[in-house]
């Protein structure tokens, strides 16, 4: 079966996100003063072959833990859909 993993990687909540802060300020400059706490992460999609959805989940979990996210600074979550 072919699956697609949709992965979200975000900076940990307790860490300052300078990129998010700068974008937050720019949104205020646009007049959107109701916006606050902008945080910027990454969205990664990958296609994979697996015998089952569980196997696909395991592969995505491995990919995130070993390379895609650095858990000292980032958290991740993902969903698996059939391709």
């Amino acid at each position: 079966m072919k699956y697609i993993a949709h992965i979200n990687i975000m900076p940990l909540k307790e860490l300052l996100d300078p990129q998010g802060k700068a974008v937050n300020n720019s949104l205020h400059n646009l007049g959107l003063s109701q916006v606050h706490d902008v945080r910027i992460g990454k969205h990664i999609t990958l296609s994979l072959e697996a015998a089952s959805k569980e196997e696909a989940q395991q592969a995505a979990q491995d990919a995130c833990k070993k390379l895609l996210a650095n858990q000292v600074m980032e958290s991740f979550d993902f969903t698996i859909t059939e391709a």
């Binding site: 860490l15 300078p18 990129q19 700068a22 390379l67 895609l68 650095n70 000292v72």
Partner: protein, 230 residues
């Protein structure tokens, strides 16, 4: 002893490092390509250097992809067997990603790339660099966008307890203060070592401050520290 300097795609301080070690320190230097995987000519007396730059274009995260190059697998083995390793700037980031040093280097708190001379000082002599540089305040250039050292509270406690902090940012008079911190690094940390004191990482560039012709030789003692080992 000899030095090995690893060249990754995107390294840009590899030649500076080679010149500093070879011409200023008069040491033997071997350049190592990241795709090779032979470190058999290096012994515990030698030192592997990971230079600054933008390995793999800083894709994904700084140092994240370099960590998986064939040569890095060998460097991890070399370090775990007690071999000496120094990472400068991007090299420091790679060492953190490889798990050879704790923590991570985050984007500077002010969002800007910072390129200027700063001051650092070693706060203890319980590591190889500290033994050589003592409590002298050193003027060394930094050049990075992601140099904000961060580790969680438990890791920070371990670092302080084991005297693993090698350098802190300070002012010209050696006072460690937030105003002399160029990137927002936790506790003004500029460089650390591992618990076994054979792996060192620092954001400032000693190789850019090792030559009379550059009008600054404060960095020379830092590099020399690795020649005195053993």
């Amino acid at each position: 002893m000899k030095f090995g300097v690893i060249v990754f795609p995107g390294s840009n301080c590899d030649r500076d490092m080679m010149h500093a070690l070879q011409d200023d320190l008069k040491q033997e230097v071997v350049m190592l390509w990241h795709k090779d995987s032979d470190l058999s000519m290096f012994t515990k007396e030698d030192c592997i250097v990971l230079p600054g730059g933008f390995s793999y274009g800083d894709y994904l995260r700084c140092g994240a992809l370099a960590r998986f190059s064939p040569m890095m697998e060998q460097v991890i083995k070399f370090a775990n067997e007690g071999g000496k390793v120094l990472g400068v700037c991007n090299g420091f980031q790679i060492l953190c990603e490889a798990g050879l040093l704790p923590g991570v280097l985050l984007q500077n708190d002010h969002q800007k790339f910072v390129c200027k001379n700063i001051y650092i000082k070693s706060e203890n002599t319980k590591n190889l660099i500290g033994q050589v540089v003592g409590d002298k305040v050193l003027k060394i250039p930094v050049a990075h966008g992601e140099g904000r050292y961060y580790a969680d509270a438990a890791t920070m406690e371990q670092l302080n307890k084991n005297n693993q902090v090698v350098f802190r940012y300070c002012n010209e008079n050696g006072e460690v203060h937030i105003n002399s911190n160029p990137n927002g690094a936790l506790n003004n940390i500029a460089g650390i070592c591992n618990a076994t004191r054979n792996v060192y990482g620092m954001m400032p560039h000693p190789e850019r401050a090792s030559s009379e012709s550059l009008n600054n030789i404060d960095g020379r003692a830092i590099l020399e520290a690795f020649t005195y080992m053993n």
